[in-house]
């Protein structure tokens, strides 16, 4: 596959964290309040946490993150931080 590949087990915690940012309102709220604490809750390692804090899509995907989850986690965080129109989505 070119775009959406099998996620390696090494990226399980990272993908679980991204899924929670996408779908778990309470976790997303905790992340917005204290991202480092939220990532510790998900047991992310330092490299995953650094890439997520920087919001670096390519770095996250290179570490095994699913591109769709990166996209949706980022979108839902931005929707809460700023006015994002439905058309943008």
């Amino acid at each position: 596959m070119v775009h959406y590949r099998f996620p390696p087990a090494s990226a399980y915690r990272l993908n679980r964290c991204l899924f929670a940012l996408k779908s778990d309102d309470a976790f997303r709220s905790r992340f917005r309040t204290d991202a480092r604490a939220a990532m510790r809750e998900m047991e992310l390692d330092d490299a995953d946490a650094a890439a997520l804090l920087r919001g670096e899509r390519d770095a996250l995907v290179a570490r095994g993150a699913h591109p769709y989850l990166v996209f949706m986690a980022d979108l839902r965080l931005r929707m809460e931080r700023e006015a994002v129109t439905f058309e943008y989505f």
């Binding site: 775009h3 959406y4 996620p7 779908s23 769709y68 929707m79």
Partner: protein, 211 residues
């Protein structure tokens, strides 16, 4: 049994959707009997893939749902052929029952969320696809490969292909195709009058199928 509907801030008249549990259970049981290893959950929030189309189509008073998930994003996904075969079985199972049913599939068309291709969907692929559906040649989609769907930004087409198995060779009414800067969007329907063998059975058939 009810399913949570939440997430994107679009108006949702009823935030919780009633589930048609007898039909849902019958589909799981009959599907497994036919060799499809279906799984079910009694605790799955429904996300935008479900409630956005329902926001625009759900009648008042609302009717109960049977949400069917198809894994489109997480490899290894079901093959297009398998989706088509499950859709055909789904149509036959529904046709053997008494409920009056509308089949809806959401997702697609071409887009590449989370990738460098996000701003350049394969609009020509979408248009060729819609031409096939209009011509009643939808079964050809059962033969596309997972790689082709991935390259065309159409991995979500698996939900369409599932529905296509149920509508068979009926010709589609393509109401619109609207490309945006990142996404091909279409509305397609197979009305009652063009329903085909997939829905024939002892009971009342599904009334229509739409995407």
């Amino acid at each position: 049994m009810r399913g949570d509907v939440r997430a994107l801030p679009v108006p949702v008249p009823d935030p919780r959707a009633a589930i048609h549990e007898p039909l849902a259970r019958a589909l799981v049981e009959a599907g497994i009997e036919r060799g499809f290893d279906l799984v079910y959950t009694q605790d799955a929030p429904l996300d935008y893939a479900f409630y956005v189309p329902l926001h625009f189509t759900m009648p008042e008073p609302s009717v109960p749902l049977v949400p069917l998930h198809v894994n489109v994003y997480l490899p290894p996904q079901p093959t297009p052929k398998r989706c088509y075969e499950w859709g055909r079985a789904l149509g036959e199972i529904l046709g053997s029952r008494s409920e009056r049913v509308v089949l809806m599939a959401s997702g697609g068309m071409s887009h590449f969320p989370g990738t460098d291709r996000y701003a350049s969907p394969e609009f020509d692929y979408d248009r060729r696809l819609l031409d096939l559906l209009s011509a009643g040649r939808s079964r050809e989609l059962a033969g596309v490969t997972a790689e082709e769907l991935d390259r065309a930004g159409n991995i979500e087409l698996r939900t369409w292909i599932t529905l296509l198995g149920a509508v068979g060779d009926a010709k589609a009414d393509v109401y619109c195709y609207e490309p945006s800067w990142h996404h091909g969007n279409a509305v397609v329907e197979w009305p009652l009058a063009v329903r085909t063998s997939g829905f024939r059975g002892a009971g009342a058939p599904p009334s229509e199928a739409s995407l």
